[in-house]
């Protein structure tokens, strides 16, 4: 495992460095600047100049970039420009919310995707097969923001079962937190669950066509057991890779879902940050997202090797 990490870490750091440069560059390329946003709609040039100087935006770009990297290296994130508060606190708070959402969604992805995949691969005919196929395809065919709005309309506005949006920490108030979490997590999870289900189905079908399944059948082992105990463990490793990719998508896709459900997560913070040109927040946040993604990939690979004994590291 150590050698595995040692092999992967340098390239991961390289990705982060490249990402940091890109992020910095893109932000500076975006028109509009933090000082004018901060100054308000009717500010005069002297106010803007004063704010520019205070934020250090009058320094040369390279200096700003290196300064940022230096701050990162020493762990100082500093205050935000426009949103208010320390960047570390802002990111910390919204990271918590996003992790909650992502984990909730991930759980739903697994809970929905697993049966979808298994049923899809094993039930070939009949109403169940039709329902499974219809569900996987239509879920993928409807844009996520439509799903979100419809979910709110049905479960919150019409039925009044669940809140329309907002966030309550699941750690502080588990019972309320779950209710707030359910709809956005579901909205986020549905497409990914369909994708996972489809990959799992493909994997299971492949596994079920393998010789070892024939062996198990010849031994008189029941179909159910063959599917769940023999074929599924083989179909899981590739599905885990897909799941890992999906986690990345969940983090990124959360922007939209967070907007629809007023979920104060990283996506919202990033959008706010971009909209107000709050450079420190956006820079640190995007870099964090990239880092999380890289880490998730790493974990995915680790889980893969753990699930597949053939390629387990020494």
């Amino acid at each position: 495992m150590r050698t595995f990490l040692l092999r992967r870490l340098p390239s991961g750091l390289l990705v982060l460095l490249a990402a940091s440069f890109l992020i910095f560059l893109i932000l500076r390329l975006i028109p509009g600047d933090p000082a004018t946003s901060l100054a308000g709609p009717d500010a005069g040039p002297e106010a803007v100049a004063a704010i520019r100087a205070r934020l250090g935006l009058d320094r040369p770009l390279l200096g700003q970039y290196l300064g940022w990297l230096g701050d990162l290296a020493t762990g100082r994130l500093g205050p935000s420009y426009a949103i208010g508060g320390e960047v570390a606190d802002l990111i910390g708070d919204s990271l918590g919310a996003t992790v909650e959402l992502t984990l909730g969604a991930l759980l739903l992805v697994i809970l929905l995707g697993l049966p979808l995949g298994v049923l899809g691969a094993t039930v070939r005919r009949g109403p169940v097969a039709v329902a499974v196929r219809a569900l996987t395809t239509t879920v993928l065919a409807i844009p996520p923001f439509v799903t979100g709005v419809v979910l709110v309309l049905v479960f919150a506005v019409t039925l009044g079962l669940l809140p329309a949006g907002g966030h309550e920490s699941i750690l502080d108030q588990p019972d309320l937190g779950v209710q707030y979490l359910l709809l956005p997590a579901l909205c986020l999870a549905l497409p990914s669950a369909a994708i996972l289900g489809r990959y799992l189905k493909d994997g299971l079908e492949r596994a079920l066509a393998e010789d070892y399944v024939r062996t198990a059948t010849a031994l008189g082992i029941s179909r159910r057991r063959i599917v769940l105990r023999h074929a599924l463990p083989n179909a899981l490793p590739p599905a885990v890779t897909v799941l890992g990719l999906q986690v990345g998508q969940l983090l990124g896709g959360a922007v939209l879902v967070e907007a629809i459900f007023a979920w104060p997560g990283l996506g919202q913070l990033a959008e706010q940050g971009v909209l107000r040109r709050d450079y420190p927040v956006v820079q640190d946040l995007l870099l964090l997202l990239v880092a999380v993604y890289v880490a998730v990939q790493l974990v995915t690979d680790l889980v893969y090797t753990w699930l597949d004994p053939r390629i387990r590291w020494e």
Partner: protein, 525 residues
């Protein structure tokens, strides 16, 4: 003797196409029956039909399979499941793919045991150890936690047998159980099957393309051809006095170890070495724990000579072949062609060509045969389009195919024809050396004989030097002037073909020779 298994007029269809057209036999308790036939004869389909485990699209379209009077062909699925593994079990060809790669051997044995009994966990565990012991896996208790990939090929097949025995069945169907194994390991597995048959009274149905394997193991034999049983009888009767013309042809095509080399009739090797290999070594893997594939091989090949190279899988034969065609760089040592180091001469690349074992994966499925044959010509800038087309036609004729084959894709050809295409491709740039890496191992005996004929004809005609790699000693003896024996990356013995077979100098060679299944029936006790 009462019949435990009674098969009557069994017919199997695949999407309307008849694959088995009426097979009948009976099997007494404790008996051994061999089913022999070439690919497409329907022998494996018959085996699967016995447990009604036909793949999708296939169905039993007629006849019956009665196990103690119970017709498996019509039995309901749940009842069938309680029969499978419990009363009739099956062993498959490839022990690697037939074992679940992600489950431990213990888990798989446990699954097999619990499929037919509700024994408690500790009992099942001790039963698993017992089974592994039975099939001769050393240190059984500890190895339950290992995964299939941690066992050798022979051990994996032993585990397969252990799985099949978990339900203590009366009938064991073994479908090509030793085909993927080396001769020495094959020998051990056959002995194990014999022992199980002897000690436990399990009736055995052994399916194989190899008459030697059947001869050695089974009292009775069934010869199948095109979905039909063409001959049926006691093994020694069928082998010694074949009645059906097909059986006669089949027996004639089987290479026999006792027959002397025919290579001298093709050509007389020239005196000057064409290819000289000195101290060739190749290691793989990380620097700290290298795996040695070749450990210093010295070899010479003369013009017009066929040098047979034999050895078990993993002995380094293919590594050597690939080093010779510069598919990879050796770690040490040198290869000279006509005295020149190989790496320096581009022309030498053209002079040494390779024929592959697998006639399926070695031809690009996306290209027509014509394109495949023209590729080496283009690569070596030989001729223009018209000249290349002409050469393609010439090559096809040379290997015994029609020139219009050029327009078709490889999938339109049978295995033997594909191997001819592979040979034609190797011949395209007019090489002087042909490296044939197990060129006939994937082919049926009758086709094998034809390809061997083709190769010797080409040698006669073109004066080619051939490095003929194979694991079948009988084939090698027949085709080669000299034989080199390879073991663990080294050549242990090199000598004239007949001498190596009749008077082996190295104990390993002797061991190899002893493991070759002979056609003279050695009835199991």
């Amino acid at each position: 003797m009462s019949a435990v298994l009674q098969v009557r007029d069994l017919k199997v269809e695949f999407d309307g196409v008849e694959a088995v057209a009426g097979v009948g036999f009976e099997l007494a308790a404790g008996e051994t029956l061999g089913i022999v036939g070439e690919s497409g004869s329907g022998k494996s389909t018959t085996a699967l039909a016995l447990l009604r485990m036909l793949p999708a699209g296939g169905r039993i379209s007629g006849g019956s399979v009665e196990l103690d009077g119970q017709d498996l062909a019509t039995l309901a699925e749940p009842a069938l499941r309680s029969v499978r593994g419990r009363r009739i079990a099956m062993i498959f060809q490839d022990p690697m793919s037939s074992l679940n790669p992600v489950l431990t051997v213990g888990r798989q044995l446990d699954e097999a045991v619990r499929a037919h009994g509700s024994a408690a966990k500790p009992e099942r565990a001790s039963r698993a150890v017992e089974l592994l012991d039975l099939v001769g896996i050393p240190d059984a208790a500890r190895r339950l936690r290992d995964h299939p990939h941690q066992f050798s090929g022979g051990q994996r097949q032993r585990i397969m047998i252990a799985l099949a025995l978990a339900g203590d069945p009366e009938v064991l169907v073994a479908d090509e159980p030793t085909t993927a194994l080396d001769p020495t390991v094959q020998q051990q597995i056959l002995r194990l099957l014999e022992r199980i048959n002897r000690e436990r009274g399990t009736a055995l149905v052994l399916i194989s393309h190899d008459l030697g394997v059947i001869a050695q193991t089974c009292r009775r034999v069934l010869v199948m051809h095109q979905g039909l049983v063409v001959e049926h009888g006691r093994t020694e009767d069928v082998l010694d006095r074949p009645e059906h013309p097909y059986t006669k042809r089949l027996l004639a095509a089987v290479p026999r170890l006792a027959e002397p080399s025919t290579a001298a009739a093709n050509s007389t090797p020239g005196p000057e070495p064409l290819l000289t290999v000195t101290g060739l070594a190749k290691t793989y893997g990380p620097r700290r724990r290298p795996v040695t594939a070749l450990g210093g091989v010295d070899l010479v090949l003369h013009p017009g000579e066929t040098l047979g190279l034999v050895g078990e899988s993993g002995s380094g034969k293919s590594t050597l072949a690939r080093a010779l065609v510069q598919a990879h760089a050796p770690s040490a040592g040198e290869i000279r062609y006509r005295g020149e180091p190989l790496t320096r001469s581009r022309a030498a690349r053209r002079e040494i060509q390779l024929v592959f074992q697998d006639p399926y994966s070695s031809l690009n499925p996306r290209m027509t045969v014509g394109q495949i044959l023209a590729e080496p010509l283009i690569a070596h800038r030989l001729g223009d389009a018209a000249e290349r087309a002409e050469r393609v036609g010439e090559l096809l004729t040379q290997v015994g195919l029609e020139p219009d084959a050029a327009d078709r894709h490889p999938r339109a050809f049978s295995g033997g024809q594909r191997q001819r295409i592979g040979i034609a491709r190797a011949l395209a740039p007019r090489p002087s050396v042909l490296i044939c890496d197990e060129p006939v191992s994937a082919l049926d005996v009758s086709v094998q004989a034809q390809v061997l004929d083709l190769l010797s004809g080409l040698q006669r005609e073109l004066g080619l030097a051939i490095l003929f790699i194979a694991h079948d000693l009988a084939v090698v003896r027949q085709a080669s002037h000299r034989i080199a024996v390879m073991h663990r990356g080294r050549l242990v013995e090199t000598g004239p073909a007949d001498q190596v077979v009749t008077d082996p100098q190295d104990p390993y060679t002797a061991e190899l020779l002893a493991a070759v299944p002979q056609l003279n029936h050695r009835s199991p006790v």
